[in-house]
């Protein structure tokens, strides 16, 4: 079953422990899919498997299919580095490189072979604009990225992920370490970005999920209990477990 982007019967094991149990989930074009659920239920593990980041953890094993553009990313022999070039990732804690703002963004494209100051300048500006950070940093591109505030650093990380023009953006609780104002900015830019990208976001914040996502999937103990339109999940979920979770977290 070749879908443009999604998983099919994906299971992830850490040694003998099965952290993710046979999940089949498609991510439609130009949309935001939120993954919600209690801590430790496999959401982040699942997210990380989409760009094969779990490979770095020794003892982990991924079974099933990850479809992208008709190819199975989980097939042995896949060029992992190549696939990661089409998928961007942002984490909870901002992790900009210890370099200048400019070089954080230009690093990825330079690695891909883009030379020439003009081309790189264009990419840097475009990425920073898409991340709603350009106006704040355009006069200090050569300063260290670490001189930015937490919220700015996170938008920088988003801009960095965008610099190589990915098709998919994976966000692992991108706003939970930020203050409310920065969180709002990040949510705003997610709503803008989804027009060109598929976005998958793991979040603990139910209101956030309800606000910005088009589709939601509820994870519990490694299984996906239910998924569907966000509005449907939050107002009238089919599964009792989903309902209990949502009721419990929503005042």
């Amino acid at each position: 079953m070749a879908i443009p982007f999604g998983t099919e019967q994906l299971s992830i094991y850490y040694g003998h422990f099965q952290a993710v149990k046979q999940i089949s989930l498609a991510f439609p074009e130009a949309s935001v899919t939120a993954l919600i659920g209690p801590s430790g239920c496999g959401k982040s593990t699942f997210l990380r498997s989409l760009n094969r980041m779990n490979d770095e953890i020794s003892g982990s094993r991924t079974e099933g299919h990850i479809w992208m553009d008709g190819k199975d990313l989980n097939e042995p022999g896949t060029d992992v580095i190549k696939l990661r070039q089409k998928i961007g990732m942002v984490w909870q804690k901002p992790n900009p490189f210890h370099k200048s703002i400019y070089n954080n963004i230009a690093f990825g494209p330079r690695y891909r072979g883009i030379k020439g100051k003009k081309a790189l300048d264009e990419i840097v500006e475009k990425s920073l604009r898409r991340a709603a950070l350009w106006d704040e940093v355009k006069d200090r591109l050569n300063e260290s990225a670490l001189s930015l505030s937490g919220g700015q650093q996170q938008r920088l990380c988003i801009a960095r992920a965008l610099s190589v023009d990915p098709q998919i953006l994976l966000l692992d609780e991108p706003a939970s370490a930020l203050d409310p104002v920065s969180t709002g900015k990040v949510e705003e830019l997610i709503s803008e970005l989804k027009k060109d990208l598929r976005i998958v976001i793991v979040t603990h914040n139910m209101q956030q999920a309800a606000r910005i996502s088009d589709y939601t999937a509820y994870f519990y103990l490694g299984s996906m209990i239910e998924h569907g339109d966000t509005e449907h999940i939050f107002t009238n979920p089919d599964n009792r477990l989903t309902q209990e979770y949502i009721m419990g977290r929503f005042g």
């Binding site: 580095i81 190549k82 494209p109 891909r112």
Partner: protein, 311 residues
Amino acid sequence: MEQTEGGTVMNSKIKSRRPLREKHFWEEWTGRIYTSICVVLLIVVMFSIVYFVASKGLSTFFKDGVSLSEFLFGKTWSPSSEPAAYGALPFITGSFTTTLLAALIASPLSLCAALFMTEIVPGKGKKILQPAIELLSGIPSVVYGFIGLSVIVPLLRSIFGGAGIGIAAGCLVLSVMILPTVTSIMADALSALPKGLRESSYALGATRWQTIYRVIIPTVLPALLTGIVLGMARAFGEALAVQMVIGNAPHVPTSLLESASTLTSVITLSMGNTTMGSVHNNALWSMALVLLVMTFVFVILVRLLERRNRV
């Protein structure tokens, strides 16, 4: 999809059937091979050292026919007499005596320093002692030898008479040299203890000294011993500083204040004056082999202590 200068790169197939052309493939291999070579070199060097020293050192027994028991237990070292005697006991006892005595002197001092830094005046104490310890460890061993010769030897001479050189001078110099090593290991071990240990002892009404004596030291004893063993290893292998103050007489010492020798001191002194391949020379290599064997013994001791430390 955005067309950039690297457009083809961005839109290329994910599954590459030509990994050999990819930059990152070559980069990965460069990294792995380069770093692996460095590690392999380390291993080769270590084994080479053992092999070469052992083959030279063992040739005294297998090629030149010196008996092992004469070497290890013979008191007479006179390679140039007829017949030559190759008893290395003077040097073996010299090495062991200076090392053990140095450890005996340094350990209490180190323990006090470590306790000072972590228990008595934590924070400020560390600020005073830590730089002092680091500076002490920075002083080169020849300078310690020079100080030994200029200060300790005359001092011993004026207090005890005689020449001032000997085991006493040697172990005093060595004890100062190993002080930093022993202290830092002990201090690290003490800092790594969970605070709860001390607090529960105080809660039971114990004084600080009682806590130290009855609770803390027994708990970290393996780590403290590790520090002492590593200090001894350092002392055992020290060559120049010892050689300068020990006198270098090749006989088993009967007092702390008469000229003596260690394995390292005789090697330092005689290696340059013997011809490679002669029995005399080979016997010196056998002493180097003893040094090597002792290194392994110390490492094993430390490993055994570390196993007991996994409390």
